[in-house]
Symmetry: C3
Subunit: 310 residues, 3 copies
């Protein structure tokens, strides 16, 4: 998230009653997760494994739970995630104020919004777009022109992102957004989460069938086809021209290359090269998988031959 006005590291530290280690006058213009950080941001980290990545990132300052050597200022917190949540809530209070969609200033006059649509005051709908009944659009969702969203789809709900604690889970507060680009069509009963601090993006011309789940911070490229009941976990990148057939599952934090085709029910655990077809759970190149499946059917014969050779 971008702050509405800049603030110093010391002022942020004062808000959470924390100590600054380094230059407290450094100016902060945004707050972001490490993988979304841009110059001027405060980022945060609570695990030694990621200290170095965070300190070496583009962040202007780091909210951290240890005093470690750093060229940039640190804000020392005993619980950086708790304090991140506090800051996000402080700078971006929830204003999920629903309204009858037709009354909103953020809806282009040529857009068609059917009855029963719920839309946050912070969100917008572009030229000629059509939103069918029962669609719910949370905060910070931006829908481009010529978009169609079918009934009962939900866009912008919270990231499924929980931090395990000794007494349960601490939820990482979602402050991100969703961008639905021009000429996208989204089926019925889909769910598209907003980013934790960054953007979830559905690229121009991409088409989603019914009951597709898109996790927080996922970026889908242009002109992709995503069939029914596909699920894509958080922060994964789907490049342009990708086809995912029905019920495919895609792991978090991976990349699927341009024009890849993933056959139905496949499970994608690792990043895939573009330009070819994949199948299976876990997926392999489709030809290889089909070849292996052919041999699998011969297993009873393989066993028999093996035994007979004794």
């Amino acid at each position: 998230m971008k702050l509405k006005q800049s603030i110093t590291v010391q002022q942020i530290a004062n808000l959470i009653k924390a100590e600054v280690f380094g230059d407290g006058e450094t100016v902060i213009s945004g707050i972001n997760e490490i993988h979304k950080v841009v110059s001027g941001d405060l980022s945060f980290v609570d695990h030694p494994k990621y200290y170095e990545t965070c300190i070496q990132s583009a962040a202007a300052a780091v909210l951290i739970n240890a005093k470690v050597p750093s060229p940039k200022p640190l804000i020392i917190s005993e619980d950086p995630i708790r304090d991140y949540n506090f800051l996000v809530k402080y700078f971006q209070p929830e204003i999920f104020a629903y309204q009858q969609a037709r009354e909103s200033n953020n809806i282009h006059p040529t857009a068609t919004i059917y009855p029963g649509v719920h839309l946050s005051q912070n969100s917008s709908v572009g030229e000629n777009s059509i939103i069918y009944p029962g669609v719910v659009i949370y905060d910070h969702v931006h829908i481009g022109k010529n978009v169609v969203i079918h009934a009962n789809t939900v866009i912008g709900s919270d990231a499924f992102y929980f931090n395990k604690r000794h007494n349960g889970f601490l939820k990482l507060r979602s402050s991100g957004s969703v961008y639905i680009e021009e000429a996208v069509e989204i089926g019925s009963a889909c769910t598209i989460d907003r980013g934790v601090s960054g953007k979830t993006i559905i690229g121009q011309g991409t088409k989603l069938d019914n009951q597709v789940h898109v996790g927080h911070g996922v970026e889908i490229g242009k002109h992709c086809l995503i069939a029914a009941q596909v699920g894509i976990a958080g922060k994964t990148i789907i490049k342009d021209g990708v086809t995912l057939w029905g019920q495919v599952g895609v792991n978090k934090d991976i990349t699927i290359g341009e024009n890849a085709v993933v056959l139905a029910q496949s499970g994608i655990a690792k990043s895939l090269e573009g330009g070819q077809s994949y199948f299976g759970s876990p997926a392999l190149p489709a030809k290889e998988q089909m070849r292996i499946l052919g041999y699998t059917k011969r297993l009873p014969e393989i066993w028999k031959r093996l035994i007979q050779k004794k």
Copy 2:
């Protein structure tokens, strides 16, 4: 789709500024995809692979992108799909005018329609049927008697049917319908698409659990059980008495025979004979699949035996 009144081939050609090849006075009474064509219909085709099938079909005339020998009149178009879309929109303008369901003339007085249901003026609900809150019913959906539809289900949304073009996808306009027969029960958050030009049918007495997806033009027979999170792709036929357990995926354009049972999470790529059980993705007869799975577990031993024989 059936036209409200008949029209000649020449009149249709005039609407899309196209040339007629053959008898322009031939009378057209409907427009349909090739697999749904009936006598009196105009059908359409844009790929040489399907020219012959289309010309030999029951169609009265064909909208096509080449002058080929034909016993029936052709309307020559440089883009038959674009012109099909134009014609469907011309003859069947979208009148998805929602209303408070209780005020509709198309709802039988004994039906129970809970608040928050959205129903197109073109659709109907039969005797004693119950529709729970949040259900959205698009155009041309006909719900029989003694039907129960649970909350937030969507019936009649558009087919997921896109034609790839050099600059993205062209959507084939949906003008079809949905028929839900007597004594069907449909769970919560299901999605049932209408046909492109034909009907999607859920047969008498069939029961669907929650989050089931039924693609465009699918025909499900009588007394089937479809468990939660099953997905059935477009134009597939499920015969009477079939059971599909949870999370099964079924390919498009195939047939599942009477009384077949498909075990959970199976993926059905090809048509299946009725009267037996199937399992796996891709599915095999369940007994065969279980036998193979048994040998799969012996693979480490198979490898060891093979190596030891060197």
Copy 3:
């Protein structure tokens, strides 16, 4: 279900015009399925395979389709399921009377209920809980404090429980309830069915992602993580601390032990021990499955070696 006031076995028999075999003055205080039966209940059975279990259970009396030796009174019915449905409807008429949620006495004043929520008058929402637009809450759903339920989720719809008859399916009437405990978060477009006669429970601190399906009578423990598009079939028990990753399917009537982790797309057919990871459909311990998958990839080589040894 618990009866509002107790009644004798003979009085129940009179309601369904059935004969009593044994002491008609025995007092009945509830009606329950065999696996949920408590002292004072009437239970029911229509298959000889389960007669003995039912007669030996804690039930005070049994609705049954045969005169068999029994230390407890029997109500003899030619169709115990039909008569169970009659009794449940008689003692608990459907009062699914929706109202604007904010007007309800059953909602704690500190709870946030967004517009477009439908809530039965029989259900309740606790302190500080948040219900997003489009959520539908059927009868007998009890939501604890600090719960978050995202948009278009459905809680309390009917069990998918049908009894096959020669002329179709007879639905077992749902009279159960749902309990959502403190600090649970439920994603968008989830579906959680109520029990047939018992409770569906989501335990304290448990988090569900989007499009999760939870069948009737399922009991999920505390501090579990259930990722998107998971489906859990009826009456299964998930113990504390379990993690189910995306698109996992879980069979009915089984138990998953404490702190088990089930990897994405796995299918769980049988009960699992806690404290370890599982993968595959059907699932095996993850290490074993990965080892087998490794050998599966060598199948072409195995075949080649086997052939060469001829």
